[in-house]
Point group: C2
């Protein structure tokens, strides 16, 4: 039995706490709504809010309720944003981020100096780093894209930065160390409802999702190999995630780095196989299984794949323990959309739909998918889509904060324009935040459309 019970308890507590704080919003607002025309409404409402959510409602909104009625859309978005800000601040002090240095060391021992993961932007993959693969978010680069169709130029740029740092600073290791940049794509599917709950960007077709992921990976490698001389190359890994159970399949590359879609191992199978085994025997079984699938696998890659399978076995157990055979929410149940660059704190499943972008113009396809999901989740129930626009910046670079703030404003304006029919009806609310990613400081909230116009809108 490879599953780590202590870690599962810890992660379970964290996930439930966060989810609960979002799930408390609607029942609380219902209670407040029910009493909005009663005497002493304001005092009563604030007590309910403080007791259930831990923070008071904006006074102005409550005060004006008698004139017309409570602006529940605004209040709902405001609460979601409040909970997010609190959750995020908490993350940098208490969240389970795992052992980053240990992971970096392990990766280097396997032949990789950088781990760059592009999962699908789907909220059901938001926990892929910390939960599904049990890695430390601090030692991994994650950029999510709809359909896991990552931007090749963006990854090339990151590769260039990474390699220069090795030459100039010897970090994370010297440029002449025999390690490579590893790019991972995580596509997804649904084992219990494959034709409806798979990846929307690929028409819920698992083969298409895998194929498209592989093509992107190969394009990235070709861009490096052809764009740079002197034997420049990278390593690739393709992983499929069953979003119902969090079990994974890993397409094991051969020693030449080639991936054949049909050659993969499944963690669910190894979970059952190793369930009654001691640790040593279980690890041996995993190693053998990998080498059966791809006899020509490189040793370092084999060790990494084995570690991911081992880690994922804890997650399979976690889902079984906490939710049974599958998650109860096998479909979308995100609480808000996150657009921009940052969101390291989002390591929880089905919490946020992630649109990694510099501009709405480039991110339009991803955003459209997100808005469509939230039209089903929120808008059709009369609730708004809460969008957090966030750009992290490096505080030690002068002007960085200012430039991040400008990007926030530009993206927020473009969002309001692209989805103007929702925005004008109060069915799209936007909060603009920036964060200094060199520090452990809090988010800085710059603007929030759910604030009253008098106070906000500045």
């Amino acid at each position: 039995m490879l599953s780590r019970a202590d870690e599962n308890t810890y992660l379970g507590h964290y996930e439930r706490k966060i989810k609960q704080s979002f799930d408390d919003i609607v029942p609380t607002l219902k209670r407040i709504s029910a009493i909005q025309h009663e005497p002493d409404f304001e005092g009563h409402a604030q007590k309910i809010a403080r007791d259930s959510l831990g923070f008071p409602m904006p006074e102005d909104v409550l005060k004006n309720a008698w004139v017309d009625q409570l602006d529940m859309r605004r209040l709902f978005a405001w609460c979601v944003f409040q909970v997010y800000v609190r959750f995020c601040d908490d993350f940098y002090s208490t969240a389970p981020t795992g052992a980053a240095e240990e992971l970096a060391g392990f990766l280097q021992s396997c032949g990789f100096h950088s781990l760059d993961i592009s999962p699908c932007a789907d909220g059901r993959l938001a926990h892929v780093v910390r939960y599904v693969l049990r890695l430390s978010p601090r030692a991994v680069r994650r950029k999510s894209y709809a359909g896991a169709l990552f931007d090749v130029e963006d990854s090339v740029q990151k590769w260039v930065q990474t390699e220069l740092r090795r030459y100039r600073e010897g970090k994370p290791n010297a440029a002449d160390s025999a390690t490579r940049y590893l790019k991972v794509v995580v596509y997804h599917f649904s084992s219990s409802d494959p034709e409806h709950q798979g990846c929307a960007a690929h028409g819920s077709n698992t083969e298409k999702a895998a194929q498209a992921g592989l093509e992107k990976l190969v394009s990235f490698r070709e861009a490096i190999e052809n764009g740079f001389c002197c034997g420049a190359s990278i390593d690739l890994l393709l992983i499929g995630l069953d979003t119902d159970t969090d079990a994974i399949r890993i397409h094991v590359p051969n020693a030449a780095g080639e991936i054949v879609l049909e050659r993969f191992i499944e963690s669910a199978e190894l979970y059952s196989k190793t369930f009654d085994m001691g640790r040593d025997q279980a690890l041996k079984t995993i190693d053998t299984a990998i080498r059966v699938v791809e006899p020509d696998v490189a040793d370092g890659m084999c060790r990494l794949v084995a570690k991911l399978i081992e880690n994922n076995i804890s997650q399979i157990d976690y889902v079984k323990e906490n939710y049974g055979k599958t998650y109860p929410d096998i479909g979308h149940a995100e609480r808000f959309v996150g657009a921009g660059i940052g969101f390291e704190d989002i390591q929880i499943r089905n919490l946020m739909y992630f649109s990694y972008l510099d501009t709405v113009e480039e991110g339009a396809a991803d955003l459209d998918v997100g808005i469509k999901i939230f039209t089903g989740l929120n808008v059709k129930h009369g609730l708004p889509v809460p969008v957090v626009v966030r750009f992290d910046y490096h505080g030690h670079i002068p002007g960085g904060q200012q430039r991040a703030a400008q990007r926030c404003e530009r993206v927020a304006n473009a969002l309001a324009q692209r989805y103007s029919s929702l925005y004008e009806k109060g069915l799209l609310h936007i909060m603009q935040v920036v964060r200094d990613c060199d520090s452990n400081e809090s988010l800085q909230v710059l603007m929030c459309t759910a604030e009253q116009d008098e106070a906000g809108g500045h």
Copy 2:
């Protein structure tokens, strides 16, 4: 007398040839317009077109003239695009691009392994590299921005690429060579009408333009120094251009790289001073003048500044010879807008307003300035704004062409949306082109709104 007569003759011939081919469009179209209801109109019109412009008009447009009347807006845009495509193809075979290797060697001898120039996007600075400073475009990076307010992150990215190439490939020189990346800003002003014909982005205020340029330069250096360790830094240079005469002022930095706005030398003054001198004495005079302005100037920087002054003296002479005291077109007279990445071929004054951009969302401020300029130049006379959307790509990277084509389409759509009132009236025409910048091949025209709907629009 330092002016190089032969070079001036050569450059003059090239400039006149290009300008003339654009200037022939309106008279030719007027002649064609005048005969549009005459018998044998089509044959007659095609003869006029071939004789005056060197190419025939699109048959469909002529054929339909009898029904209503000639769509002159479409025809005008079509001709501008045709001339541009021909000009551009010509550039890569016959244009005077100067000696790139010689320049690279000279720059390194002065202590610079990379020369990255950001002039204002104003068309009156489009010839700054090849004409005003007499440098080879092949050995210089040029990215134009309204007000010369370049994007710091974009420049940081270029710095990272440049430095990695030095480490990995030893190009243009080894990473341990004692040379630095030099960033140059060129702002501009008008000596004969300073309050109206200066830089629009800075309210035609020369001091503001210089100050803003300096601030950007310092921000870039701070981003390098704070964003990277181990003594990373760059060198800076600030140049002002008098767009009436093409004379320059150079703000000479001291040995610590600091620039004081008040300390500059003017090429116009040195032009007069050295006019009757022999070459050696003239060069000595320039060197002395630089050291008087900044006694603490570094030797390499002093040599570069001296070379730029010497080169610019030829340009001052060129303007005097060809146009007299000032250019006849001291204001805007651009023929089209160029948006995207590329346009190395544009080294001619007042030909193109350049909007260097990845997205309309980020480039909106620059584009708005361009559209405003062309509203005065074209729209108020009933003529459309011709916009060439162009993305160059590296042909040896698989998928590069396809990605460039996608960017073209995205930007063209965003343009049509942002300026929809012009677009819908046929007052904005867009041609989408890509080019493999690793080859000497022609532009590939992907789409052109000035083609007939039947033929184009694909």
